[in-house]
Symmetry: C2
Subunit: 460 residues, 2 copies
């Protein structure tokens, strides 16, 4: 049980914690394009962590710097590694935001701003818990290590060597990541599997420059038409991906999991409506929407551009066209093998008169975590204490690459205590984080730390 003093501290400091979160959201921390904002944000985090009594520092990387911090309490106490990321998705399309993505505002019980939920708010809930234990709980109940990165949204391209290099400094008994969401509003959840990612970009080149579509139409292969044919060929009529070997390593979905998922409060009509759709449509035959999102690999185009995209007509055959394609992978698919198969697919299907180039934007392995462990139990109890409901055990279709790296390189199955809600609009315009999730999330984190300590004492 969480001490009353810690709980009270969190209750009475909500406004201060919200103000801190608003400061954090104001940094336009887009990993690819805003190195200045990323560095300033990382420095802000170092200062904030030092203010909480931790030893904190920037650690340079090839991209935006990482932040490492630690507080050592007691050699006998368990050590908890807290992970978060300060980078955010690009805010585009800007016209769809009702307020500036980087000038957070409170609206109808939510903080609205890019990164409010993913992942700045979820990260700060843990730091609020650290603060509460430090200032009102007689000190931290566990040794704490904090690792915050700035490239999660672009696939954590530098975290594998980073973890390998800092494995000793990051060694811990448990790890917690809040970078996800409840299954539904009012249904606290622990995520035990995440999909991986292979994100590629295909550029097809045809004529040396845009050429007149009347004079030349019929004589040359049109890069946009060729791209359409290529992308269309990536799925068959059953919604399956046709890339050779794509499904080779996919672990089948165990029947007991499939049945457990059927007990979850899933409503496809409501889900479709939440996405602005009258019907879901599409997808691989033979699986429910939930099964497709959680346990099946998929292939989606994320962006396409070629030729004339302004108003009205321009009669050209364009010189080139390109498409971004992300494949979500499930245990035990290997992104490197999938990328290689994708490249073979493109090469084999590049028509005469066209040259193709495939660029790899990101790779992340899928992960499957053990559901039975003292830290999982600590997480379940903490969610129940803060949110008053037992936790659902769920998977998630998204990728949090660090999870698999922590498992493989640090030997830890992290506890994934996502604090977001399905209608947080992460990666979309008007991203938001419900304030009660933020405040109760801090209580949950504080309880989790206490539970880890108690579990150690009980076993010791």
């Amino acid at each position: 049980m969480l001490p009353e003093s810690v709980k009270k501290y969190l209750d009475s400091h909500r406004d201060e914690h919200l103000a801190k979160l608003m400061e954090l959201v104001r940094f336009p921390t887009i990993a690819n394009s805003r190195p200045d904002a990323c560095r300033a944000c990382a420095e802000w985090l170092v200062a904030h962590l030092e203010g909480l009594g931790l030893t904190a520092r920037l650690v340079e990387s090839q991209g935006p710097p990482n932040v490492l911090a630690r507080a050592h309490v007691d050699d006998d106490a368990p050590t908890l590694l807290v992970y978060g990321h300060y980078d955010v998705q690009p805010p585009e399309p800007l016209a769809e935001w009702h307020s500036d993505p980087f000038e957070p505002v409170v609206r109808q019980g939510h903080l609205v701003g890019r990164g409010a939920s993913d992942d700045k708010g979820q990260l700060l809930a843990h730091l609020a818990a650290v603060e509460a234990w430090q200032r009102a709980g007689g000190g931290l109940p566990v040794n704490v290590k904090v690792m915050i990165e700035g490239e999660e949204e672009i696939g954590s391209p530098h975290m594998e060597p980073f973890l390998a290099d800092h494995a000793e400094a990051l060694a811990a008994d448990a790890a917690v990541i809040s970078d996800g969401e409840f299954f539904a509003d009012g249904v606290p959840s622990i995520t035990y599997s995440l999909r991986g990612l292979a994100y590629v970009e295909v550029l097809l080149r045809g004529p040396g420059a845009d050429i007149h579509s009347g004079l030349h139409g019929g004589a040359v292969t049109n890069p946009i038409n060729a791209l359409a044919a290529l992308v269309a060929a990536m799925h068959d009529e059953k919604g399956r991906v046709t890339i050779e070997g794509f499904y080779d390593d996919v672990l089948p979905l165990p029947q007991e999991e499939r049945e457990a998922w059927r007990t979850l409060p899933a409503d496809e009509a409501h889900y479709a409506a939440s996405l602005g759709l009258t019907e879901l449509g599409g997808g691989e035959r033979g699986y429910s929407a939930l099964e497709r999102r959680w346990s099946r690999p998929t292939l989606d185009c994320n962006g396409v551009v070629g030729g004339y995209t302004g108003e009205g007509a321009k009669t050209i055959i364009p010189a080139c066209a390109s498409v971004k394609v992300s494949m979500r992978l499930v245990p035990a698919q290997d992104p490197a093998r999938i990328v290689a198969a994708f490249k073979r697919f493109v090469k084999a299907r590049t028509p005469p008169g066209i040259t193709a180039e495939v660029k790899v934007n990101a790779e992340a392995r899928p992960v499957l975590l053990g559901q039975q462990s003292p830290s999982m139990d600590a997480g379940r109890a903490a969610l129940a204490e803060a949110f008053g409901r037992p936790a659902a055990m769920i998977r998630c279709g998204a990728s949090v690459p660090i999870t698999e790296l922590i498992q493989r390189l640090l030997g830890l199955d992290a506890v994934l205590l996502g604090l977001g809600l399905p209608d947080d609009k992460v990666h979309s315009p008007n991203e938001r984080f419900r304030l009660t999730q933020f405040y109760r999330g801090a209580v949950m984190s504080a309880a989790f730390m206490g539970n880890l300590r108690e579990a150690r004492q009980a076993s010791g």
Copy 2:
């Protein structure tokens, strides 16, 4: 034979005519987006025509204004209608230009700038001929009517009612249009058929906003993937367009034409190289590249856009995606029927979870002109006189919508005396017009006028 005095005048005024052309190219006359520049250019043309002794005026239209001018010489003289257009293709992609598209420069015997060849240079060649006759030939040998429009590059959307309304004022014995090109460098040509156009735009909408491709990938139909499938389905494996009824009205290519084309100096390898290609590729099986460009209808995407098109990765399923599609039509296809069939095609193939919208950007009917007439003979002789070679009789894959309108509404088969060259890069970056084509084109136009008068006198 053209009087020596007219020829001499043209030879000795080349610099002045070039300077005028440069003035004209400086107007960024993009019909859709630059109404200001279009109006200023039309006013410049009126002033220029009045300077040549013609009565000239602007005629307002729903788009940029038209320019009409006339010079009446003699009731017994034949009347020639000269057509040109002052609007140009948008200059994008700007980064590929080696100089400002609207700041013309002379480079290696060419004038480089948007519209230099298409169609400002070709139009001014005729006006230079008018000037030479007026100032050095004892007056015009024919009555001249000039019609210059400002929406040719967007499909002349308002010219059909304009011609219907002004049929009497535009009545003539012959019409000339120079808005095309030689078959090859050194091969003066008369074009007797042009393809028509049906230019549409398809917008597919999926989720209400861009959504997270990890969380939702597999559950919803992705608008880009759906667009790719839709576009890919528009061709079969033989390169034929699959839209139902697409070929219903196509006139077969007469065997004698096919054989005549085989005598033209066509070199596919050279043609491919001129487009920056190592091989042509693609296209409908069973036809040569020339046959496909001149006598077969085609379907090309001109632009596509959807989702995230910036640098690097953004993991979204986009809310929408759109493509511009132009179909080039051949005699006797009807653009309205083709557009209706296209809409049915899209409707029948819109997948669940997607809504589709089809917008029509432009329509133009194909045209087939008689090859035997006094004005065709006058054109052949004029080309021979100015360029020293007999004219090749060719078709063209592009559309000049006015040609069919002049045929249908004014009852005239225009003589298409294209002065461009195949490497003029019309509609592409670094468009150019060879100066010798400009200067000799003026001689050709002057000779054409003289020939028309002589033919009238001979027959009268």
